[in-house]
Subunit: 431 residues, 2 copies
C-alpha cells in the first residue's frame, strides 16, 4: 500500500539550514540586533504583503520585473522587495505617532525574482537601520550608522571588513566643474568600475566625455593615500563648485565623527568610485568589502537621502540608512570558512537521562536546574543508554546527568562531562 | 509642484504596531523562544514561499481556498499557511541529517485569506514546538510540550490560562462501544459544542444517534470534578474497547508527567469535548483557554499525531506539537488589558546630550558606557535642550547625560534621572 510521495524539496534561490547552522545564523542575527537596539534603535515590523501600488510607487524597469506580485480577490498585491519602501510608507502613515529623529531597525525577509545563481537568493533576510529626521538631520548620523555597522561586525567577531565611503555631492560637483551634460551616464559608468575593470572603464569614459576630461576625472578617482591625504588632495584640486565644497565638508565631518564614535581610521577608506545606484542617495554613500575577499562584493551598504517618503506624504523626511543582506552575508561567511569556526554554546546545558523508573526524580532535577536558569531537558524515550549519550554528543550538550535507581536512593546525581568523559557523583542539592 | 501622493496604508487583516507596542511584542516572542530553546528545542526556519504541490499535499476544501497561491514564471507557488506542513517537508528532506527525537521550535509568519473580521489576521506569526520520533515517541513528550506552553506563559507573566486536555482515543473507544457508524459526524458535532451551546448540541446529537446513545454520550461529556475524579468516573464506565483503555492509560500518564514536570493540577483540566479538527491528531489533544475570557477561544493548541510526513516519505514519524498564534495572542492580550500593563525596560539606558561643542567628549562617554554593556547613544541633532530632554522622556529612557563645556573642563558628567527629575554631577570615571 505504497502511496505516491511528493519529493520534499524547496525552490531554487531559497536558503534553508540544518539546525546546527541555523543556530549560528540566529546567533549572528541576535548579536547584530542587540547592537542596534542597545544603541537606541527601535525595532519595527511591517507586512511582507502590501498593495502593489504602494510598494511599486517609485520603482520601474529592472526592479519591477523582479517583484513577486499577484492578485488575491480583486486586489493587486506584491511581496516587499526591500525594507526601505515599507519603512517609508510606515513613517508617512504613523508620522504623528513617531518620535523624531526616528531611529529604527528592522529584520525581515524580502523577495526578488533574481536570476538563479549561486549565492543569489530570491528570499533573503535584510537587517536595516535608518535614522529619519523631520525636515533636517545632522550629518553626524551618517557616521553613526556606519559606526553601528562596525559595532555589529565586531559583535560577531568579524574582522577584515572595510567601509568604502564617498559623498555623491563631490562627484556631482566635479562633473559640474567639467561641464558634463550627461552626468548620469558617467555616474552609471563609475558605478560599474569594479565590474568592468580600470582599462575598460577608461576606454568607455573617453568615448563618453573625451580625452581631456576623462583623464582629469580618472586621475581624481585614482587618488590614493590615507583618508587624510585623499581629502587633502581633493581640496587641492581647487574646485569651487558648491556641491563639491559641500561634499568635501560633509565627508570631513563624517570622518571626524567616525573617529569620535570609535571607528578606527583603518576600518574605512574614502573611495570616490562608490555610487550605490542612481535615484536614491544624495550625500554620504558607502559599501563594505571583506579585505582579501573583495570578489563577494559589498556585505553592508547604505547612505544619505534627502526625502524618504515623498510618494506618500508632503512632509520632508531626510534620512540615512544601512542595510545588511543577512542571508547573502551568511552565504559569504560560509564560503570564507567563518561559519565553520563560529562557535556557539548549546542553550541546553544539561541532558537528564533516566535509567530505570526514575522519571519523578529527574523531573525534580530538571526543575531545580531551571530555577537556576540553566537549560535542561529530560530524555524521555526508551533507548539503549549508549544511544541516549550519543544524542547529547550529537547536539553538543556539554553535561549529561545520569539518574539510576541508586542515585535516587542516595539523593545523588551522576554528572558526565561530555568533553572530558569524566563522571562525578554529587548530592543533587550541590548541583 | 504638489505631486500625486499614494495613501500610506496596509491591507486589512494585517497587523502592524507602533514602536512601543512592537517592543512588547518582541519581548513576548523572545521570552517564549528562550523558554523553548533552554528546554532543548532547536530553532529552524523554512521559506515562506514553497511549491504549491508540496504545501497543498494534504489539504483540500476550506484550507485550500484560503491559501495565497500564484504563479511566478512556470511555477505554481503558495505561501505557507502553517508551520507544520513545511516542517513535515523539512523532516522528510533532511531525515538523515537530523538527530531524533528531534525537538524543534519555529517562529514565523503564515498566511491565510480569512474572512475579514476583528482579531482575525491574514498574515500572522505562529510559534510552534514539535517533537518527532523515529518510529515511536514516548507519551511523556505529550506532557512535555504542554509543560513548555505552561513555562512560556509563566515567562511572560500570564496567569489564568488553563489547558483543556483530552485524548482522541477515549472518544473513539466510546463511539466504538456505542456501535456508532457515523462517528465522524459525531466528532464534528462535538467539535462545535462551544459554538452552538449545550442545548443545540444535545438536540442535534439526538437526531444523529438517537435518544439513548445521545443521553449516554452527553452524560460522559458532562462529567465534572477534579482531574482525578474525572479519570475515576471514566474508568467506572467499564468500557472495554481497546482504544478507550489505551486513551485512558495515556491520559493518566500525561496527567502524571505534567505533575512531575511542574505543571500544577489547576493549570489543566481534562475535557473530553476537545477534538481539534478531524484529520490530524490521533491521541492527546489540547487547547488553552483564558479563564474569565473564554470567548476569545484557544490561545495555544496542539496534540499527538501518528505520522508527520506521510506525503513526503515512507519513514514513520510520530510526533506531538503545540502552536501559539502569536499575532492573535497579542491581539487578545491587548483586548484584556494585559499589554497595557506589560512593562519592559528601554534597552537604551542612557541618552547623551551634547550642549555646545562637546561631541568628542560625548563620544568618549558613550564608548565608556558601552564597554560596560550599557545601552547608550548620543543626541546629534541641533534642537533646543528642552526638546532633547522630551525625546528621552517620550522614548522611556531612564537616564540622560548632559555634557556642556563646563563638564568637559571638569571631567564630569551631569546625570539627569528622568523619573525623579534629580540631577547629579560626577566624575566621568565614576559612571
Amino acid at each position: 500500500m505504497k502511496k505516491n510521495l511528493i519529493k520534499p524539496s524547496i525552490l531554487p534561490g531559497f536558503m534553508e539550514l540544518l539546525p546546527q547552522e541555523q543556530e549560528k545564523f540566529n546567533d549572528i542575527v541576535n548579536k547584530i540586533l542587540d547592537v542596534y537596539e542597545k544603541n537606541g534603535c527601535l525595532s519595527i515590523d511591517t507586512p511582507i504583503i502590501e498593495r502593489a501600488n504602494v510598494l511599486l510607487a517609485k520603482t520601474g524597469g529592472e526592479t519591477e520585473k523582479q517583484v513577486y506580485s499577484f492578485k488575491k480577490g480583486k486586489n493587486d498585491l506584491a511581496l516587499r522587495f526591500d525594507l526601505t519602501v515599507p519603512f517609508a510608507r510606515y513613517v508617512a502613515q504613523y508620522y504623528n505617532d513617531l518620535v523624531f529623529p526616528f531611529k529604527r531597525c528592522q529584520f525581515g525577509k524580502v523577495y526578488r525574482g533574481e536570476r538563479n545563481q549561486k549565492g543569489r537568493y530570491r528570499e533573503f533576510y535584510q537587517c536595516d537601520v535608518d535614522v529619519i529626521g523631520k525636515d533636517k538631520l545632522s550629518i553626524n548620523n551618517d557616521a553613526w550608522v556606519i559606526n553601528l555597522a562596525s559595532k555589529a561586525f565586531k559583535s560577531i567577531g568579524l574582522e577584515n571588513y572595510q567601509f568604502q565611503i564617498s559623498n555623491r555631492k563631490i562627484l556631482k560637483g566635479i562633473l559640474n566643474e567639467l561641464k558634463i551634460d550627461d552626468s548620469i551616464e558617467v555616474m552609471k559608468l563609475i558605478d560599474k568600475y569594479d565590474k568592468i575593470g580600470k582599462l575598460n572603464f577608461e576606454d568607455q569614459l573617453r568615448d563618453l566625455i573625451g580625452q581631456d576630461k576623462s583623464k582629469y576625472l580618472s586621475n581624481i578617482l585614482d587618488i590614493e593615500g590615507t583618508n587624510e591625504e585623499i581629502l587633502e588632495k581633493l581640496v587641492k584640486l581647487d574646485i569651487n563648485d558648491e556641491y563639491f565644497l559641500k561634499g568635501i565638508e560633509e565627508l570631513k565631518k563624517v570622518k571626524c565623527t567616525l573617529g569620535i564614535l570609535g571607528v578606527e581610521d583603518d576600518e574605512f577608506k574614502i573611495n570616490l568610485k562608490i555610487i550605490r545606484g542612481l535615484d536614491y542617495y544624495t550625500g554620504t554613500v558607502f559599501e563594505t568589502l571583506l579585505i582579501g575577499n573583495e570578489r563577494y562584493g559589498s556585505i553592508c551598504s547604505g547612505g544619505r537621502y534627502d526625502n524618504l517618503a515623498e510618494n506618500y506624504t508632503n512632509n520632508i523626511l531626510p534620512g540615512v540608512g544601512i542595510s545588511i543582506g543577512i542571508t547573502r552575508l551568511f552565504f559569504v561567511l560560509k564560503e570564507i570558512g567563518f561559519i565553520e569556526k563560529y562557535s556557539i554554546k548549546s542553550k541546553l546545558d544539561y541532558l537528564i537521562i533516566p535509567i530505570g523508573d526514575t522519571l519523578e526524580y529527574c523531573g525534580m532535577i530538571m526543575r531545580s536546574l531551571q530555577d537556576k536558569k540553566y537549560g535542561a531537558t529530560i530524555y524521555f524515550d526508551d533507548q539503549p543508554l549508549k544511544k541516549k549519550i550519543k544524542y547529547a554528543d550529537k547536539l553538543g550538550i556539554e553535561k549529561v546527568i545520569l539518574v539510576g535507581e541508586d542515585e535516587v536512593t542516595r539523593n545523588e546525581v551522576k554528572i558526565k562531562n561530555m568533553k572530558s568523559g569524566s563522571e562525578i557523583s554529587i548530592n543533587y542539592k550541590e548541583l
